[in-house]
């Protein structure tokens, strides 16, 4: 209701005129130091992700497709819910999977009456395959922006999420990535969503006992592809 909007804003202005807020401390955080070399970043990333029950593998460009195919097969999955080939850092990865007998689903959910049925079908896919927009070493975090060719469910509805990325996508901290992407605010406005994933889905709601895979993937497998 437009009435409530103006009423609320005018009450806020009235309250601010009587402002009794304490003064804000003035402090600037030191901007991130010189980034450590990529090899150290990869090691730190692996250590953090493993500490959260995530998996980290590294491979060479030439072996990447075979590795991913093996990961899919090991999970008994005949289908993967995958980002489009243009959004994966390994050329020909999806073709290699198809050749290995794996069906690749692009996760398109057209609006309309068949939406629910299509979603129910996607829900049965056990493995998701994505690229990343950044990987954060400090926390073992994967950053995924939504967009065309990038189904979000590939990181959420599946039991195992495989994320493939390259060393140049590694950043020391989230702050360092934001710093490296001054265009991010604009880039984000052009997308409907982004997701920072740090390890598998977890809960400690029953007697503070840690359990993974409560809603999202129980397995997060980060695959670093060296040139």
């Amino acid at each position: 209701m437009p009435d409530s909007r103006s009423a609320i804003l005018s009450q806020i202005r009235q309250s601010l005129a009587a402002a009794r807020l304490p003064p804000a401390p003035s402090v600037e955080l030191p901007s991130s130091a010189v980034p450590p070399p990529p090899s150290e970043l990869a090691e730190k990333f692996a250590q953090e992700l493993r500490a959260l029950n995530g998996a980290f593998l590294s491979t060479r460009q030439a072996e990447a497709a075979a590795l991913v195919a093996r990961l899919v097969r090991e999970r008994g999955a005949g289908r993967v819910l995958a980002w489009g080939g243009a959004h994966l850092p390994v050329p020909g990865l999806l073709d290699a999977l198809r050749q290995a007998g794996v069906q690749v689903d692009a996760g398109e959910v057209p609006p309309g009456p068949d939406r629910a049925q299509r979603l129910a079908d996607l829900e049965t896919i056990a493995v998701g395959l994505t690229g990343v927009d950044a990987a954060v070493a400090e926390t073992g975090t994967l950053v995924l922006l939504a967009g065309p060719g990038r189904p979000r469910l590939a990181a959420m509805s599946v039991r195992a999420h495989i994320a493939v990325f390259t060393p140049d996508q590694l950043h020391a901290t989230l702050a360092a990535w934001l710093h490296a992407r001054p265009d991010l605010a604009d880039a984000l406005r052009a997308r409907s969503a982004a997701l920072f994933v740090t390890g598998p889905s977890r809960t400690a709601d029953i007697e503070m006992t840690l359990t993974v895979g409560v809603h999202g993937p129980g397995e997060v497998i980060a695959v670093l592809v060296e040139p």
Partner: protein
């Protein structure tokens, strides 16, 4: 809407007499506080990060009107709909309309819901159910307590008061799950049940941890990933947000994301941080087709101009609950308010009125809440301010009001003071044995039932002093 509350003292006694709750609260407090301290010790410049977090929140509140205009304009530009709700009632009506509009013709609407304190604040579930909707909480802890018909006992770990046996019994009864003490198996039952909910839901309803003004982004933080499925699978996403939860920029968000998980769950990062910019755009394969943001005031804009305004800095991490010696004894239910613990004892009277003033008495004013707060909210000072309100409104019981008045009178009058001393010495001298009172008549037996009281000296200091003084 809700049942009348038992008196505060009775609620406290109920909590104290529950051994399961006592054990759970102790374990929760010890683990969370130790973990939180370790995470902050590892964080470089942690004190400066806290100062920065406080500055960000203060600067946001100081220009809240401008940031709200910027934020909502950006949400709308991204294709989202913004609804302003001045009161709880207006928020409920807006959401009911949206939910009815999203339902399949002729079918009862199904709402998948991830955790939202604002929804608790406006008693949304009851209103939706009354309107014929099926509402299912998807956070595991919330799911459990919803099935049991309870309210959260902690804002971060809502089912902290339950044992695994309770959950096993519940899942056995409701879903025919085999009884088990294996938490992993119970979690698998919840996963199976809730998957069906996401995929059947017409609406996904989530809370909001932060709104970013410069991009019009809402940010939802979970470990389970339930908010992500809630917002991405159903056709319509409704996000419910307290209007103070803004930060100006993405860089500011990053600072808050360093503070929140460390304070709330002793993690460096939560498993899922979801940024929502609006509905799915053309060409995107999945996501909600409509996005509605409901901005809830419900007393916040007025609170901003008062002596409790600083409590609006709160990022709902729950650290002050974990560290509070009172919360640790009585738990969330003891407070009888949606927001419990030290910060709840300020926010509840500020938002919901004078009937919650008495919560501020449940504090030792030890200051641990202020010390642990990631944005350094001066909670003890505001607890004192609420106590003043309590007294000014004449809310303390008559015996206390008159007792304090009599005490004040005696303390101002040397003659009355002397008479008081004489009777105190005489009376306690008659009742005491070995220098201690072991029994006093009601209402003073409230003290002596648990503690002895030292007898007053028979001769006062002043009379002894008068004797010892050398005479001229």
């Amino acid at each position: 809407m809700s049942q009348p509350l038992a008196p505060f003292a009775d609620r406290i006694h109920t909590s104290l007499k529950n051994p399961v709750l006592q054990l759970a609260l102790d374990r929760n407090a010890e683990r969370r506080v130790a973990g939180r301290n370790q995470r902050f010790a590892e964080l470089p410049d942690s004190e400066a990060v806290r100062d920065r977090g406080r500055a960000i929140r203060l600067q946001t509140l100081a220009k809240l009107d401008q940031y709200l205009e910027q934020f909502t304009a950006n949400v709308e530009r991204n294709g989202g709909h913004v609804h302003w709700a001045a009161t709880a009632d207006e928020a409920r009506r807006i959401i009911l309309d949206l939910v009815r509009g999203a339902a399949r013709p002729g079918a009862a609407p199904v709402v998948a819901k991830s955790k939202s304190m604002v929804s608790e604040e406006i008693h949304l579930n009851a209103a939706l159910e009354q309107a014929g909707a099926r509402v299912v909480e998807t956070d595991l802890g919330e799911f459990i307590i919803q099935l049991r018909g309870e309210t959260p006992s902690h804002i971060i770990t809502p089912a902290v008061h339950l044992r695994r046996e309770d959950v096993s019994d519940l899942f056995h009864e409701r879903f025919g799950a085999p009884p088990t003490l294996d938490v992993e198996q119970m979690t698998a039952v919840a996963r199976r049940e809730l998957r069906q909910v996401y995929f059947a839901a017409d609406v996904g309803l989530t809370g909001v941890n932060f709104g970013v003004a410069e991009t019009g982004t809402i940010v939802i933080v979970t470990n389970e990933g339930n908010a992500d499925l809630t917002k991405d699978v159903p056709r319509v996403h409704i996000a419910l947000m307290g209007l103070e939860r803004l930060v100006p920029t993405l860089a500011d968000l990053e600072v808050m994301l360093r503070l929140l998980p460390r304070s709330a769950t002793a993690q460096k990062a939560s498993s899922y941080v979801s940024l929502v910019n609006g509905p799915r755009q053309a060409g995107e394969p999945d996501g909600a087709e409509a996005f509605h943001l409901v901005l809830v005031d419900n007393g916040r804009s007025a609170m901003l101009g008062g002596e409790l305004a600083e409590a609006l800095l709160c990022i709902r991490c729950g650290a002050c609950l974990n560290v509070c010696p009172i919360f640790r004894e009585i738990g969330g239910h003891g407070y009888g308010a949606v927001y419990s613990g030290p910060i709840g004892s300020v926010v509840s009277p500020a938002l919901f009125g004078a009937e919650f003033n008495e919560l501020a008495n449940a504090s030792t004013l030890c200051g641990a809440c202020r010390d642990i707060c990631p944005v350094r909210i001066d909670i003890p000072s505001m607890l004192l301010a609420v106590r003043h309100r309590h007294v000014r409104a004449g809310q303390p019981p008559a015996w206390l009001r008159w007792g304090i008045r009599a005490f004040a009178l005696a303390m101002r009058s040397p003659a009355l003071y002397r008479i008081g001393q004489f009777f105190a010495g005489l009376g306690t001298g008659l009742l005491a044995r070995d220098g201690y009172l072991r029994w006093l008549p009601p209402p003073a037996d409230a003290w002596t039932r648990r503690r002895d009281f030292p007898a007053f000296a028979r001769r006062t200091f002043r009379s002894r002093w008068a004797q010892r003084r050398p005479r001229r």
